[in-house]
Structure formats: C-alpha cells, structure tokens
C-alpha cells in the first residue's frame, strides 16, 4: 500500500464539507490543528494499491493569510507539503472560485481541480467544457456531485495519476504592470532558497501576506528591507496598492478561462428573495423563523413549551402523554433501568455504586444530552444547508447592531441554545476581535439543553412552572444583550472598538438535502463528544468521589459526611439573602457546586442527598419556599454553565484572566438577579 497525503482546499460554500463526507463516508478523525482549537478532519479512502489520506483544510478565499483559518490552510499547503492538493471550485460560480485555484496552481506542482455541484449546473444553464478547462489549467479537472456521489471514483484515480506523474510547470498569471517588479523580487528571493516557488513568494510579498514577510524576515534577513522597498516603490509609481493589482490580474486570468470554458445559457434567474432583506419585515420574519424552529426542536427534546402550556390550561393527560415520549424522558427511563440492573447484578457496595452512579451517571449524562444537542444541531443544519441561516443573520443584523453585535453573532447564539461549547467554538468566525471577545464572555448566559432540563425539573416545584421557565429564558437573553451593549459602549468609550461589520456570502437558497444535514449534525456532534464529553464524564466521576469520600479519606455512603458536604456547609450564609437557611441548606450549596461542574448533576445531587422522590419533595424536606425556588432557578440559569464551557473559553482565548472575569461576571449577575427575583416574588405573593 502506498500512502498519499492529500490536502482538500476550497472557498467557503463550494461544497467542501459535503464532498469530504461523501468521500470518507463520515468516518473522519476529528482533532485540533496544533496550538489552536480549529478542528481538523482527516479521512482515509483506499483505492487500488493506494491509501489516500485526505485532510480537510478550513475554507478560505485565498492563500494570503490574515485570519487563523487562513493561516492554517496556507501553512499546511506551504509547510507540510502534501503529496497532492485538491482544489474545489464551484460550477455555479466558476470564475470567482477559480481565484483560489490559481493561487494554489502558482505554488504547487501536483494539483487536481474538482468542480462541485455539477448536478445543479445544468438546471442553471451552466455548461462547462471540462477538457478545455483541463488544458487551460494544465492539471486534471474532475466534475463532481457530492450529493449524487458522482465523480468520487474518478477523483481518487486522478489523485493517484497526479501523484505518480512528474512535476509540471507552475501556472503563470500575467500580472501586467506589476510584472517587472515581481521579476525583480523573484531574482532577489532566488538568492536565498526557501524551497518554495520563487515567483509565488514574490507575488505574496506584493500581496502583503504576513506569513511570507515573516518567513523572509527570519530566514533571508538581508533581503527583507530590499523587498519591502521594492513593494513600496511599486505602490508609489503605479499609484495602486500592489495587492489590488495582484487580485485584479488573477481575476482577469480566471475570467479569460471562464469565457472560453463556460457557456451560460440564459435561464430565468430567480430574483433574490428580497423578503429576507426588507428593513421592517426581515427582522420580524427572521425572529419568527428562529423562534418557530427552536420551539419545535425544544419540544421534541423535552416537551417544552407545548406540553407545559397544555398542562397549565388543564390538559394534563395530554401533556403527560407528550412528555413521556420526548427524547429526554425516553433516555432517562433507559438509564434508570440500566443503573438498577447493574446494582441488581453487583449488589449494593462501593464498587457497584461507583460504577452505576459515577461512571454510568457521567456516561448517561452524555447520552442524555447527545440527542438533545443533535436535535438543535440538525435544526441549525437545515437552516445552514438551505442557505436560510445567512439570510437570517442579515435579518437580525440591524437589530443586533444597535446592541453591539453583528449578524455574525447569530451562529454562535443559536448553537449555544444546544450546547455552549460549539457555540463558543464558532464564535471564532466573527471577524472583529473585540466583538468576538464580548461574545465569548457572554455566550455562557445562553441556556443550553442541559440547563433547560434542570429548569424544567425546578419548575415542577412551583405553581406557575411554565412561566418560570419562560421567565428564565427572558432573563438570560436580557442579561446577554444588556451586558453586550454595556461592554460595547465601554469599549467604544475607550475607543478600541471599530464599527460593527457584516460581510457574508449568501449561498443560493435550496431545499434541504437530508444527507448534508445529517453530515453537518454528525460533524458538530463529534466535536461535542470530543470536547465536552470527556470533561462531563470525568467531572461526574470527580464529583461523585468528592461526595462519597469523608474528610478521613474513607468511603461513606452518607453524602452529609463527605468532603463536598463539609465544604458546602461553609457556603450556606451566601444563600440567606434568597431565603434559604437552616439545617438542610448546605444541600442546596452542594447541588450548586455540582451544577458548576456540570449542570445536569444539580438535580441528581438534590435528589440523592435528600433521598426525595421528586424535586418538589426535596425542597419541602430542606424547607425551601416557593419564592426561594424561583430565585434559585434564576441563579441556576445565569451562573457558570459547566466546566466544559469554561475550559473552552480558556482554549479559545488562552487567557486565564478572561476566564476569571467571565466567571466573576456570571456569578455577580446571577446572584444579584436571584436576590432581585426573590424580593420581587415576596412582594408579589404578599
């Protein structure tokens, strides 16, 4: 077996993820790019005597690197020297997407061009002469349809033939008036061999690629000044930024190829659906759609809000029927059954308790949330695949803008409703650093599915449970936006912050493709499993140990004797202002510590320690009033989501200070809101 390493690169929306999934059948290994939290997918396909390793690079518009994603893609191609580079171009906008291909073709010998979405090209009146395109580009061109599975085999064959074939001449783009300068730069760079195409490096100098300039500065120090000088001279004499000339020339080249190889038959072009861009309707429609789809997803997961509404208007039997068949209750019943089966098999002892509660509890928590999160992810997957999501982002932009966020914030916000961890991760795509940091600080306020489950359980202990959950969501979003606005104002006062920007490609709208939605869901789920999963399972085990080991390091099955309990007892005075005091108040403190680690163990801690059969009974046992439960619910909504979210904040910012600030902010906001809620509840019920 010969091993071939292939880098897969393409502009955003060309259909790269879809193709990658079609090629690997979803069997990819997801890791992180070294030193970053940008995820890296790697898959293997076997063809004839070859093992083809495909590495999916982040989607980029060009190889000039300013963002993290651009740096990763550029540096992988430049430094890791994959055997073959597959560049994807979109048959529906060939010229624009050829731009990246030309950038790659100037640098790399072994390239295969994949033309995506050809299934749709015909209906749009696009006809491409692939043979001619192949001739003009000088490398194999393969028409592909990931959704139909066309061309996948041929792609593998072409990768192999390019791998076996010898070198080829690099493509040369005519840079017009900049040519002489590029040649001079090339001659300079030739004096200091960097093992890369001299011409490409020269072009990158004129494009102002920070990575290239850095490389030359460190490895060919003597040339650096001369090259920068040359660049400035070109800029002075040509009176245009050389980066603009490079881009323009590359586009011209792409256009001339497009002119000869593509025939566009006039078909009636669908007018862009202006509805989504209307200044008044668009924000309303966007918010209506977002509310509708998430209500649907939430309902499928937990029965909230439909079952709760039915319950409150008196149809409790119907409500119960719905609740019994929500995803969360089905899984819960399964977990209860397996835990009691395990205890039955092993008998009641420390080991069986450890296995059934700590380990199975942790894995169970994960199992419980996986489908809940997957429903939310699938919902977003549909929005994303159809092209609706970017329209919705425009729709909310005008509203968000007033609050200090851009429409880009919609992606992390909606993911956070599923789980904060992927939400925090996609915040990376926010172009403005200041806005991104603001988002990372505040996303944890958005209640995830784990919190929803806890909120619903707490709601069973009060009379107007449904309203309490709705109120919690309102408070959470209000906190998010109010603090966002305050932080934004604060940073504009320190004149750090720039304007709120939106720059988004709007892919064509189409019906959802189930397979693509599934791949999207699975891909993000894998992330959740890798990132949050490990922490949730370990945290559960840790917490179980802390609450089952006494100060003398011996096992105890009375949680009241444990290390965790003695620590919680010191915390009880904090609970006084929300009306929780007395004998059992340490149990609430303990549950809150549990919830700090992972929200879902808040409820199980409450139940196991009190030995109560329901949350309501647990509160009665401890002596917590209804008003205090309301305050507690607000507190639980707003304080730290879980350790996994905190660790993600750290890995995304590499700043312990920021994590500490975020935690402090959450605790302060949660505590004051809780006290406020308690006072209000007292006033209202008097």
């Amino acid at each position: 077996m010969k091993r071939i390493t292939v880098a897969l690169i393409g502009q955003p929306n060309v259909g790269k993820s879809t193709l990658f999934n079609a090629l690997t059948g979803g069997n990819a290994i997801v890791t992180n790019w070294p030193g970053t939290t940008v995820s890296k997918s790697e898959g293997v396909i076997r063809h004839c005597q070859y093992e083809i390793h495909i590495i999916d690079l982040p989607g980029v518009y060009g190889l000039t690197a300013f963002t993290i994603e651009e740096k990763i893609s550029r540096n992988f191609i430049v430094n890791e020297k994959p055997d073959v580079v597959v560049v994807l171009v979109d048959s529906l906008s060939l010229i624009r997407t050829l731009y990246l291909a030309l950038d790659v073709l100037e640098l790399i010998d072994r390239v295969v061009i994949g033309v995506t979405k050809v299934d749709e090209a015909h209906s749009r009146g696009v006809h491409i002469n692939y043979n001619l395109l192949e001739k003009q580009l000088g490398v194999p061109v393969v028409p592909l349809s990931a959704v139909r599975g066309d061309g996948l085999r041929e792609l593998a064959e072409r990768i192999i033939s390019v791998y076996e074939a010898g070198r080829r001449e690099h493509t040369k783009v005519d840079y017009g008036e900049l040519s002489t300068y590029i040649e001079s730069a090339e001659a300079l760079i030739r004096q200091c061999d960097l093992g890369l195409s001299h011409r490409w490096l020269a072009v990158k100098v004129f494009e102002g690629d920070p990575e290239t300039l850095e490389l030359i500065k460190s490895r060919c120090t003597s040339l650096y000044e001369d090259l920068v000088e040359l660049r400035e001279e070109a800029s002075r004499i040509l009176k245009v930024d050389p980066a603009v000339i490079v881009a323009r020339s590359r586009f011209k080249h792409a256009e001339s190829i497009g002119k000869t190889c593509v025939i566009q038959v006039a078909v009636r072009k669908k007018a862009p659906s202006k509805l989504f861009y209307h200044p008044v309707y668009a924000p309303l429609i966007s918010i209506a759609i977002i509310l509708a789809v998430f209500t649907l997803a939430f309902n499928l997961n937990t029965g909230f809000p439909v079952a709760s509404i039915l319950e409150s208007v008196g149809f409790s039997e119907l409500a119960e029927a719905i609740e019994n068949y929500t995803i969360s209750s089905l899984i819960e019943r399964f977990l209860e059954w397996s835990s009691s089966t395990l205890k039955g098999l092993l008998g009641e002892n420390a080991i069986s308790l450890f296995l059934s509660e700590a380990v199975l509890g942790g894995v169970g928590a994960l199992l419980l949330f996986l489908p809940l999160i997957m429903t939310v992810l699938a919902t977003i997957g549909v929005l994303e695949d159809t092209g609706l999501l970017t329209r919705l982002a425009v729709g909310v932009h005008t509203l968000f803008e007033k609050l200090g966020f851009s429409g880009h914030a919609l992606f992390p916000l909606s993911l956070s409703l599923g789980c904060n961890v992927p939400g925090l991760l996609v915040a990376r795509a926010i172009p403005s650093t200041a806005e991104r940091v603001r988002l990372i600080m505040l996303l944890p306020f958005i209640p995830c599915q784990a919190r929803l489950v806890v909120l619903l359980a707490l709601a069973t202990a009060v009379r107007q449970g449904f309203l309490l959950v709705v109120l919690s969501y309102i408070v959470a979003f209000a906190a998010f936006f109010a603090l966002g606005f305050a932080l934004y104002k604060w940073s504009t006062m320190r004149s750090e912050s720039v304007e709120i920007r939106l720059l988004l490609e709007q892919p064509p709208l189409h019906k959802p493709i189930p397979r693509v939605v599934w791949w999207y869901t699975w891909w993000h789920t894998k992330h959740f499993l890798v990132k949050a999963g490990t922490i949730i399972v370990l945290a559960n085990i840790l917490f179980w140990l802390l609450s089952h080991v006494g100060p003398s390091m011996s096992f105890t099955d009375d949680p009241g004797e444990s290390i965790a309990a003695s620590f919680s007892k010191t915390l009880t005075p904090i609970l006084k202002p929300i009306g929780i005091s007395g004998e059992g108040s340490w149990i609430i403190a303990l549950a809150l510590i549990a919830g700090f680690i992972a929200k879902e163990i808040f409820i199980s801690t409450l139940l196991t320690v009190t030995g109560a059969s329901s949350v309501k009974n647990a509160f009665t046992t401890i002596g917590v009033s209804e008003q205090s439960v309301i305050a507690l619910t607000i507190f639980v909504t707003l304080y730290v989501p879980c350790l996994a979210a905190l660790s993600t904040i750290y890995s995304e910012t590499r700043s312990l200070k920021l994590v500490a600030e975020a935690v402090l902010l959450m605790l302060v906001v949660a505590y004051t809101s809780a006290i406020l809620a308690y006072t209000l509840a007292l006033v209202l019920t008097l």
Binding site: T67, F251, P272, G407, Q506
Partner: protein
C-alpha cells in the same frame, strides 16, 4: 463624495440605488479587510449589481454571480463608477 467625471459619476457603493450596476474602482480599507474583499471577488474593475439598498441597514450585492451582504460601513469604503445609460 459625488464627483461628476464626464458622463460617469464616482461615488461610494452605499449611495448606489437598487438595481443599478456599477464598476468597482478602489477600496479604502485596512490590510485584513482589503484582502478579504479582494479574495471574495470585490476586485477593482469588477461589475457590482446592487440588489438591495434600502438607504439604511445591510446592502446586498451581486458580484461574479455571487450574492454578498455587506454592512453599510464597508460599502462606504468601496468607491464605484456609475455608468450613465
């Protein structure tokens, strides 16, 4: 900035009304934003069709067969020529 040069009008993209097609002349933006705009196909010389411009909020344009939405602040950085019919 509205200068009349011969028959053609030079202006910034945010001032172009819906349905009009203009030619991009130059971009006045910092390195990072400039590079992103260029790579997305907003290259001087490109034809830009303004699909949506309500005089406030986000603009939607079509360039090289791609729909792109851009905030007004960015549109103000794009200098374009309106060809007279």
């Amino acid at each position: 900035m509205n200068t009349v040069v011969g028959e053609n009008k030079i202006t910034t993209l945010d001032k172009v009304s819906e349905g009009k097609e203009v030619t991009l002349i130059s971009i006045e933006a910092g390195r990072g934003l400039l590079s992103r705009l260029l790579n997305m196909g907003l290259v001087p010389g490109s034809k830009i069709r303004v699909l949506v411009n309500k005089g406030g909020g986000v603009l939607v344009i079509s360039v090289h067969d791609t729909e792109i939405s851009i905030s007004r602040g960015i549109a103000q950085k794009l200098l374009v020529r309106v060809e007279s019919p």
